[in-house]
């Protein structure tokens, strides 16, 4: 399995939509952004939450045909951690990652974030709202039952998407749905995972996305909210056990 080191860093797989085959622009996948970029630049900022807590340093990525001179979010200059210069069969572009954790940038979900991108030949300024965080009403996964998902979300984003991964040691099923932005529940039929024996892990991921095409590029803010209704031992997760203790379905000694 060669060459994966570099390529793995080039994208994650879940920002969706296929190629734009219509006259209007749709949100490209991150794969397309970073393997076959069509726009002059792509600014991608993603927050990930498990429960109410941010789990990681926000993920900030900038893909551009021109070298980046500086990037500011809310007037805070964000330090470049590293970059990749890609020449993919003649299609050349830079792909930058950043040290957000060490910066003074503090905006959260639901905040309007100002961006200022300084390229060698031009400067782009604007603002966009980081979407609100979807709050899951966590469900227990039962392989013999449909999975009924519910969540709350304060404001409708421009795009809302759901993916669910059901995995065993040797078989994985991914479910994806591009949802209307005002929807707050969704049911996945149990037939989706009927071929997966000995399920080891189930993950539920909701993404709310705001984006805009501007000055020949794309600015995309993503809020990802995740939970795992089934843990690696094939048991309900800890939060479910806690709920059952609270509701006295499990008696403590």
């Amino acid at each position: 399995m060669k060459y994966l080191l570099v390529l793995v860093t080039m994208f994650s797989l879940f920002t969706v939509c296929s190629c734009d085959r219509r006259s209007g622009k749709t949100l490209p996948s991150e794969i397309e952004m970073t393997l076959a970029p069509q726009e002059d630049f792509y600014l991608l900022l993603e927050y990930e939450y498990m429960g109410a807590h941010s789990t990681e340093d926000p993920r900030l990525r900038f893909v551009t045909k021109e070298p980046l001179a500086a990037l500011y979010l809310d007037d805070v200059q964000i330090e470049v951690r590293n970059f990749r210069y890609n020449d993919v069969y003649g299609n050349t572009f830079y792909d930058y990652s950043f040290n957000l954790f060490d910066s003074e940038f503090i905006a959260g979900s639901g905040d309007t974030i100002r961006y200022h991108i300084v390229l060698e030949e031009k400067s782009i300024e604007g603002s966009l709202v980081m979407p609100n965080m979807p709050i899951h009403i966590e469900q227990t996964f039962d392989p013999m039952d449909d999975l009924n998902l519910e969540w709350s979300l304060t404001a409708n984003p421009r795009k809302q998407e759901l993916d669910v991964q059901v995995q065993s040691d040797s078989y994985s099923v991914s479910y994806y749905k591009d949802l209307p932005t005002d929807v707050r529940e969704h049911t996945i039929a149990r037939s989706t995972w009927q071929n997966v024996a000995n399920i080891e892990n189930v993950s539920v991921n909701l993404r709310t996305i705001n984006y805009e095409f501007r000055h020949g590029g794309l600015i995309c803010f993503v809020c990802k909210s995740s939970y795992w209704p089934w843990d690696s031992l094939g048991m309900p997760n800890e939060s479910d056990i806690l709920k059952r203790i609270i509701t006295k379905n499990i008696q403590l000694p």
Partner: protein, 255 residues
Amino acid sequence: MQKTLSLILLIIVLFHLSSCDESSSQGMPSALEVILNPTLDYYLMIEVEEYEDETLLNYVYLVSKQALSSMSLDGSDLTISSISYDGRSGYYSYNLMPEDGNFGEQLSVELVYSARTITSSIQMPPRIIMDPPAFDPANDWNLEWELQQDPDLQYFLQWYRAEDTSYVSRFVELDSKVRDYSVPKSTWEILGEIRSAEFGLEAQNYQYHDGGFISVFSSYDYYQMPVSVQSRSQWRFQRVLKLCERLQYEKEGSR
């Protein structure tokens, strides 16, 4: 997820990284087609890969519209090591464990589905014979190799990594008759001090067959930490570190 990600990434490497163009009936399908919008009944990729220490690795991957019942190569059934189903594309992806493959052999392929069986035969490209000079950041890297038959396609894929983990990656398609390639030192000059250099040379044959696409690769991989001369054990240790690092990146990439 990790397996799915790895499979998808390999598809990216093995297919042309063209944009959103629809594939032509005779050309290579694009990686984006295979990943995001597969249209053929199946895409089969078989690879024999040689590292500079003469380690041989074999890979078989299948992206398929229908669930696969079984697969054989040269009459030997393959074990399916992992399956993933992508609800977005509606396609299955299979990672299969082949027997030891041989360079240059005529491979007979059989894919068994519930409703039909696909059989075909395809010529694996010959072994790429190469003894690359050590990478010297101060000079162009001049490479030569032997390949007894011209493949349908030939690629040179290269990565240069700096101390701060910045990269230059460059993928080049070579004429199938070419047997040498010079990488100008300007390729990595943007990085400053180089921590590692890596390349893969790929020879590929392919065919469209019975509603699907079959491609076979022989490849030669080279990896070097060029800054200082290392012992073999140090080099192997670095390979392990690299694997760990890759897994970490996969973890990050899957978020």
